[in-house]
Amino acid sequence: MTPTVPLVHGAHGSGGADAAGWLLVALLVLVPSIAYLRAARARRFAGRSWPARRTAAFVIGLVLVGLAVSPALHALGRHDLRGHMVQHLLLGMFAPLALVLAAPVTLLLGVLPVAARGTARGLLRSRALHGLAHPATAAALDIGGLYLLYLTPLYALTTTNVLAHHVVNLHVLLAGCLFTWSIAGPDPAPRRPPITLRALVLVAAGAAHAYLAKLLYARAPELPPGGSPDPDQVRAAAQLMYYGGDLAEVALAVALFATWYRTRGAARGIGGGGGTCRASAKG
């Protein structure tokens, strides 16, 4: 039976727990994927298109989440900060980017019953969500959480306490999604601040992330407190964090400015290739 899976998942070392863990991964990937595919199909039946790349992004995002929480990576990350860091890169940066680019909120709004749709729209326009989804708030939750994790005994706690481990993972994923959504992506984001502010927050968040990575590298013998006995491992993990952070920042910056490029073109009535402009120039 599956309801006990999350509990069994905590008990490591036995083959049965591993199998249960993989089953959980399969459910985690398949259930939302199927829901998304059904919603996309319903939308197409209603005569509105839904780009295949968004569906692909959603499935890729879920696969990355599944990989990150899979027994294989979990075992690797349990006593090794490098494995833990790979988990966090996937959960906090790459999976959120794929999931946000999949525009799940747009899709959901399209298939909800009309009454529920109104509620959802109200929620999207609420002051609380607006504050939470401000890039600065989202960045503080996302990057601040990492500072808390690596500069306090919280990381050490996650290696011994399974509940803490899962709560931290969930926070990393949700905060990553919130931050990514606040910066870029096709989903509706009421009162999203202008692009300059978003770019500045992205720079500040990236700098704070890089700074934390360098701090871990420089003070590997002491950090994270009570966490890892092997400074070389911490240094390798810090480098993973640093370069992985770069990669995610480039990807997010591309998503941000690609949106700018598209809306600027649309405002002038030019599509991707600049057809109108060319036509008038040839005329």
Partner: protein, 174 residues
């Protein structure tokens, strides 16, 4: 590049609702300068920090503020590069790119960054040096001379491009 084809003089607006695009000299220069700054920062970071390891990922001599400013520079460089490329693509798309001005901006931007790094970062703030454990004079000279060469190329191109987007192409036609 496209010049106004119907012989309009500068400053004369066509009544056409979609006027023929004109090269935007200053914007081309500015956008390319941003790319130049970002690219030079990336070259410094990748070639000298990461491949040669002359000055590193983390110089233990750096104060905490230096570390933070390094992180800011690095992420800003990434965002500026991406933003610059999209702005460049936008200029091309609406046929407003002035190519010679853009090249001049690119060289001016990269030279300015190199000179800033060589004088302010290395000498005034002493965040890091080009290299450690050797006589720095030749390295500093090469670093700042490279900056000067880039700036000279940029200035030369800026001089050559000063009529870009105005009536110059018509003179060539005659």
């Amino acid at each position: 590049m496209d010049a106004p084809r119907d012989g309009t003089t500068t400053g004369h607006e066509q009544p056409d609702p979609a006027p023929a695009p004109r090269p935007q000299r200053r914007r081309s220069m500015f956008v390319a300068a941003a790319i130049g700054v970002g690219l030079m920062a990336a070259v410094d970071e990748i070639v000298f920090h990461q491949i040669l390891g002359w000055h590193h990922f983390y110089d233990r001599s750096s104060p905490q503020i230096g570390l933070l400013s390094d992180g800011l520079l690095h992420t800003a460089e990434i965002v500026v590069l991406v933003a610059g490329f999209f702005a460049f693509a936008d200029l091309r798309r609406r046929r407003a790119l002035a190519p010679v001005s853009a090249w001049s901006g690119f060289f001016l931007g990269s030279g300015a960054f190199q000179l800033f790094d060589g004088i302010v970062d290395h000498k005034l703030l002493r965040l890091h040096q080009v290299r450690y454990g050797v006589d720095l004079f030749a390295y500093d000279l090469a670093w700042n001379a490279a900056a000067a060469i880039l700036l000279l190329i940029g200035a030369g191109l800026a001089w050559g491009s000063r009529t870009e987007g105005s009536a110059a192409p018509r003179i060539q036609e005659r």
